[in-house]
Symmetry: C2
Subunit: 493 residues, 2 copies
């Protein structure tokens, strides 16, 4: 902090690569959406948890400091060495909200209620190569139940997810929560006599079901196929007879849950784990019905394969089913906005004890994009009423006007730039999205009146009206100063 | 991600030193407070801005990478080198919300409205030695106006600050916004013929006014004094005649703004800058009056010296004036919860152009502590109604009860742990702060009724009632299943 340091060149005013700023409505719209979700989560008994952005690399896991610098995917740095205490800890920014939850669940396991329902909303950081639309800081919004082995916890999360989507404005019929179960797949693999060493390969191929379809997966499970580039992709080597139950599983969705469950029972054959999985899905279906969540909102769907490799029991995904136009103007379904499922080993890393857990994560940016596409992203962000300055010696009068408007709950501000050029003030009001401008020159002040200009109407007249009509200026009204608030309120409707 | 890595020892489940987690009401109470402040800022025409947590060290400034690692006060790390592109940028977590604002104001100067009013709320990070109650991540809440040289901007922020304090629940009379002006002090120094090379020393001594009082500062400005330990502290070397106007300035607060301004006019003598400063304070006083902000809410007070060294014009500070008990049980005033003022050079670092700016920062943790001390921190955090599980085969029935309660807007959840031990379920409900437990065994189910247990009343009875009264259990009522929601609503009042 020496004052007479060498003069530095001017710094660049730039966000770091892959980071961005959020202005005005960007912030407000996301906040409104997350507040509505939080309200639903809270009503379901979930408590908020806000962990710090920084964790020890050790606690985050996965990214261990086995290299000089643990920078694979996370932003990490080493604390300064403690004098006489060895080298400093490696710290890192959290890369999701689940790893900190695991740490909290272990650290506070004697204090937290069990089961522990918590939700968390906030930014996470990924040290990845930034690209168009790909940022290194983004929001996540998670809800998890730790310490319950009951599928009632899974059913509750599915019902809550449906409620949350409706709370932010997605209409019933415009979304569906699809539910599958890893145990059913395990049962199918057992029934098909797939060798344990083939299971990972099978999962990898199943994961392509969305992309390559039934026949594609059949080829990948058996003899292999050519991809679009003509390259030969090796198959897993199952026989057609082994692949059949796997495909039966993936395509077993029936007309309703009852039919689907019937198909699944057939697909798992005599497998005990398979029967257990189908039983869990049947329980979830019954619980959703009891909670008043119909099959138009949440449904058993074995074609949902994303996450089947990661989760250990029920898996769920929320999809928006309405169509939007993609970049090329083609109609397509909006697609997935949330996913989750049941997983073990969350707390086990820390304590050695398996703790059952289930949860869901909403893709904040995707859901917000969907709301914007449907014109549902909060109320129209409205600029403030701008009180212009005709006479800089009467700032107090203009501020009194703004204060009166605010006291009536109306967003208002006085123009605070150099008032010399009145045109600049109207340009400013335009940039602010101001619905109304208030004007009072010395003449008006002497007569105790103000001019109230309806900028929305004014813009329409300027765009549509003839010169004569424009001159008549019906968008501007003179009212007594005492009627200012009433007139502005009238214009704002 | 090799699967057969060497087995690592179990990681420690610990927050990094100096960081902490926020649970439940901790999160909610702060959110309620910040939402109320945001509402006031928004109504005054301020727009939210959310910058990323990460900035380049270059843009943050002050902490330049002139050492191997720029870790003086910030958490910083170097990006990986770009192949063929030289060494990577140094990045850091923001240490306040002003430095990112400066970067934004420069980066987007052609797009933002001017003046630009913005508010920001969020965590900042300091790489400092943690101590009891001192954390390395904490919240800030700022509002600034960039690009207005008018003291109307300062007056507006003072009025807005008073409104914000009332909006979070601080009663009128329990706070005061005090306003001073660096220019007046400059005028006093000029009038006292303090040499420019003495000015910094004088400011340093004035800053001790809060601690050592009038006579202490007089000694420090002149011949020096002994501190509490008996050590001799050198004085600035002013004559008594030179020190007199400085002390007159510090003690010029009169019975009201008019009297204070009169005293200040005398203190600055013939100084032009001093007269300008007093004129600004007079304007601010007039504007506050016009906005309906009385001297019981915001007042000119030249004894406010904190920040006078940093700011270039008006300086403000909000103080809570009610008494609390300190750690030793002594009464003391709560003290400062917000401060700010006018500063230049914010954007100049980047663009070379001076851009006038003024702003205020609320100490989020201090204000929240004040609200808690007054019992004002949001509504009592209430736990959910807990629907207990007597019969694990009827989970769907219990979930239907919770769903009915939620549909009526009541926070409710089903117990999701192992239901075998009913006592554990009631212990759980207690830990959750549940106001009501719902119980339905097979017998009740057959009769179409539920038991509704008022846990708040029950706890009171258990604490106060005799054994016979306790046995009568008036805190538990049997109602028909159809009346569940009505009965719970009755108990919740």
């Amino acid at each position: 902090m020496a004052k007479d340091q060498k003069k530095q060149p001017r710094p660049k005013a730039e966000t770091p690569k892959g980071f961005r700023d959020y202005f005005g409505a960007d912030v407000t719209e996301r906040k409104v959406m997350l507040d509505r979700i939080a309200e639903i989560y809270h009503r379901h008994g979930f408590d908020p948890l806000e962990t710090s952005a920084v964790e020890t690399v050790e606690a985050l896991g996965k990214f261990l400091p086995d290299v000089d610098r643990p920078n694979a995917g996370v932003f990490a740095w080493q604390e300064e060495a403690v004098p006489g205490g060895g080298s400093g800890d490696w710290l890192a920014l959290r890369y999701d909200l689940t790893a900190p939850l695991a740490r909290v669940a272990a650290q506070f396991r004697n204090d937290l209620p069990s089961p522990y329902r918590r939700y968390a909303m906030g930014p996470v950081w990924r040290n990845e190569k930034p690209g168009p639309g790909r940022f290194r800081q983004f929001y996540q919004c998670d809800a998890d139940t730790i310490g319950s082995a009951s599928v009632a916890a899974d059913a509750e999360i599915c019902a809550m997810l449906a409620d949350a989507l409706e709370a932010v404005g997605i209409a019933r019929g415009d979304y569906i929560v699809r539910i599958n179960n890893r145990k059913v797949l395990n049962g199918v693999l057992e029934a098909a006599e797939v060798r344990p060493d083939q299971a990972d390969d099978v999962l990898r191929q199943i994961d392509k079901f969305d992309k390559v379809g039934r026949d594609g997966v059949l080829a990948l499970l058996t003899v292999g196929r050519k991809d679009d580039s003509g390259a030969e992709i090796e198959g897993v080597g199952l026989s057609q007879a082994q692949a059949a139950p796997v495909l039966a599983f993936l395509t077993s969705k029936g007309a309703d849950n009852a039919a689907t469950l019937e198909n699944l029972r057939a697909a798992v054959g005599g497998s005990v784990i398979g029967a257990e999985g189908v039983g869990e899905l049947a329980q979830i279906a019954a619980m959703l019905a009891a909670m008043g969540v119909g099959e138009d909102r949440a449904i058993i769907d074995p074609s949902i394969v994303r996450g089947l490799g990661y989760y250990t029991g029920p898996v769920f995904e929320a999809e928006l089913t309405f169509e939007i136009l993609d970049e090329k103007g083609r109609k397509r379904q909006f697609g997935s906005v949330a996913g989750g499922g049941r997983y073990d080993g969350l707390v086990e890393r820390f304590t050695g004890q398996k703790v059952p857990a289930t949860g869901v994560s909403i893709g904040v940016d995707r859901l917000l994009a969907a709301l914007r596409a449907k014109g549902l992203a909060g109320e129209e962000a409205q600029g403030p009423v701008v009180v212009t300055v005709m006479d800089r010696d009467r700032m107090a009068d203009y501020q009194a006007m703004a204060a009166d408007l605010r006291a009536a709950g109306i967003r208002a501000e006085v123009y605070l730039g150099n008032p010399k050029n009145f045109g600049n003030q109207l340009k400013y009001a335009d940039k602010r999205g101001a619905p109304v401008a208030v004007i009072q020159g010395g003449d008006e002040a002497a007569r105790g009146v103000v001019q109230v200009k309806d900028l929305v109407l004014g813009a329409r007249i300027a765009a549509e009206a003839s010169h004569d009509e424009w001159k008549a200026q019906p968008a501007q009204t003179e009212v007594s100063r005492a009627d200012l608030v009433a007139e502005v309120r009238r214009i704002l409707g």
